[in-house]
Symmetry: C3
Subunit: 274 residues, 3 copies
């Protein structure tokens, strides 16, 4: 599947509209470029419909919410739905505040998402309206381990069936499902949790890959998660050679995305279908 996904990104150079947070926005823009897309960030209600209309996909990330941008997210999401553009949702910190909770729920009601990507705590909150969140990171108790894998898969499949969205849960083990077919991905490196933006960047890459492959939403998400995880592995390997720290790791992560191709991805993907 990787050849087709990446070939389409390369030939189409999808324009990705991002309504996102101001913490990781630069990394998101750079990784979209590195992945073969073109980012455009625009969050004012007076322009989001115009902008999303000229784009191939829309990424909504609620990392730093405010009243002004929530309205823009809903308007842009509806417009993208109308135009049949893929819309990707990253419910950063869902569960951590009333505002995030209400906004996540409202977005799920008003916008049809192609893909929802979060950590297990965030996705659990969306599915159940409860659960625990430790800030913007997953709760210890929630971590996806081999022993909890089966139950998390069936949870993800049922939430996917309920929403009609591809559900992407990232963590030590990643799960991508359309409610029917499920990918289990074991790429990645623990150091990805020692930098800000690893999650946001996966979501941004999903925006890029899905923008170029709107008819293949599930595989686009899975390929993005594999690519990002593989970049993490390659970055860590290089990091050890240069004896660097977390910020060198962050740079290398984006570097490897700019070097990623279908052959590397095929050789390095640790992906299993269930």
């Amino acid at each position: 599947m990787f050849e087709k996904i990446l070939a389409n990104v390369e030939s189409k150079n999808p324009l990705v509209h991002n309504i996102t947070n101001y913490v990781t926005v630069n990394d998101c823009a750079n990784i979209i470029l590195a992945s073969g897309g073109s980012p455009i960030m625009a969050d004012d209600i007076k322009e989001v419909c115009d902008i999303t209309s000229i784009c191939s996909s829309l990424v909504i990330n609620m990392g730093t919410l405010n009243e002004r941008t929530i309205k823009s997210m809903i308007a842009a999401g509806k417009k993208a739905n109308e135009l049949n553009h893929p819309v990707i949702f990253d419910p950063v910190g869902a569960g951590a505040s009333g505002l995030r909770n209400e906004t996540a729920i409202k977005l799920l009601e008003e916008v049809k998402f192609s893909t929802i990507r979060g950590n297990i705590s965030e996705i659990k909150f969306l599915a159940t309206g409860g659960g625990n969140t430790y800030g913007v990171d997953a709760c210890e108790a929630d971590r996806v381990m081999e022993e909890s894998l089966d139950s998390v898969i069936s949870f993800a499949k049922s939430f996917s069936q309920k929403t009609g969205s591809v559900i992407t849960i990232t963590g030590a083990i990643d799960i991508v499902t359309d409610g029917n077919k499920t990918y289990i991905i074991r790429n990645g490196h623990p150091m990805m949790s020692k930098i800000t933006g690893s999650g946001c960047m996966v979501t941004a890459v999903i925006g890029s890959y899905t923008g170029a492959n709107p008819d293949n939403i599930l595989d686009s998400a899975a390929a993005s998660v594999c690519a990002m995880g593989l970049c993490g592995e390659l970055a860590y390997k290089k990091l050890v050679e240069v004896d660097g720290g977390t910020n060198t790791f962050r740079m290398l992560l984006i570097d490897y995305m700019s070097k990623m191709n279908a052959e590397m991805l095929k050789a390095g993907a640790k992906i299993e279908i269930r």
Copy 2:
């Protein structure tokens, strides 16, 4: 010309007020410091006049517009005009949305710009109120090539005469003109379009150089474009040595700006006068 421009930056350490976007703001601040200036970012209507009053120049970048900051841009621009401070305009994404179009036109009406810097699509939009834009990047059809160079030069000169601003069009070939004298600059590297912020950073450096050389607006813009392009070339050369990707390139670009001096610039500038 480079010696004088850079000597003034070094001796004056110009304070540059930026009303800019949240995508590339950190890179802009860092490249202003690297170029020898001091950045200050402030966009609230209640402080922009105070801030611009203590600065040497003002950079207005419309990368992520919102209603709140548009008012601040106009107020700060008028104040800077009143104080005779150079004002630099980067019409990011002009042509991509109604809001950007109206704002660009309104800014041109209300504020007198020393220099306007954009890609060819953005500048064409400003000049004609039409044209094509592909998000925040130039349209393929618009790229400045050797064969279209003469017509682009005469377009830029005429727009400069109309606005009284130095017009700076960056791309594969860069054009800097005050309507009379025109510089053609062939520095740079294609990888500059694979990172976000290359354009914003050139504009930021123009803010720094012009802030220290308010009586030499044309040469300040030309020197900035040469310096930035040369940094791109040097960064790419080093990148090949270290086998890096796009994010290492971005770091090296700012690194080289911090090492730039008049000798390097004189030796490396590919600049022609017409």
Copy 3:
């Protein structure tokens, strides 16, 4: 003192709520992670009280103020006070505009700060309501030198006694005092002033260290300043080896924070008690 401070950060992994500027926010998030904490950025009035309630400390940084976030700063600060969470204040650019001045004064009136960290010009402004500021950097005339050290110490002690806050003045020589005990710190490197965010990052690390050591506010601030300064020294040493520029320096600075431990800090700290 370093062992205990760092051991608590490691074991508690403090969640740090930041209401901060959009220029250096990514660096602040990354250095909090590198220091052993977890950052969460949230500035909307509708969620800041929720967010601060689940955190260990709150950092208020007024680098890019606007009316919306000023209200959030006050609400979050009061809530954190109520919950007895440490609140750290970085009065970026105090003295540079009426809005910053009024906001700084209002924050001092409404919120009880555990620690206030700024350059000498900013702290002088807070203490006297006057003084000079050169943008967001300290005035030349204000630099803390050996000859002015004694008078700056007694100024800092008296301001600490007045406010009940630990006062942290960073510059060529750093001063950290609780009005009684004073640390003089001589770590650091001049290149730290050639990148944006050095000051904001120290404040962020104070948020992380103090969040894990709420009963040891003075030592937490001193350890943060030592750690950051030592990172600057190590980064510069490595920078010379790799022949890098300012942006490589910035990356290395965060890298070394991710490698910092009590042994390194004990060996490298240039700290004196008065």
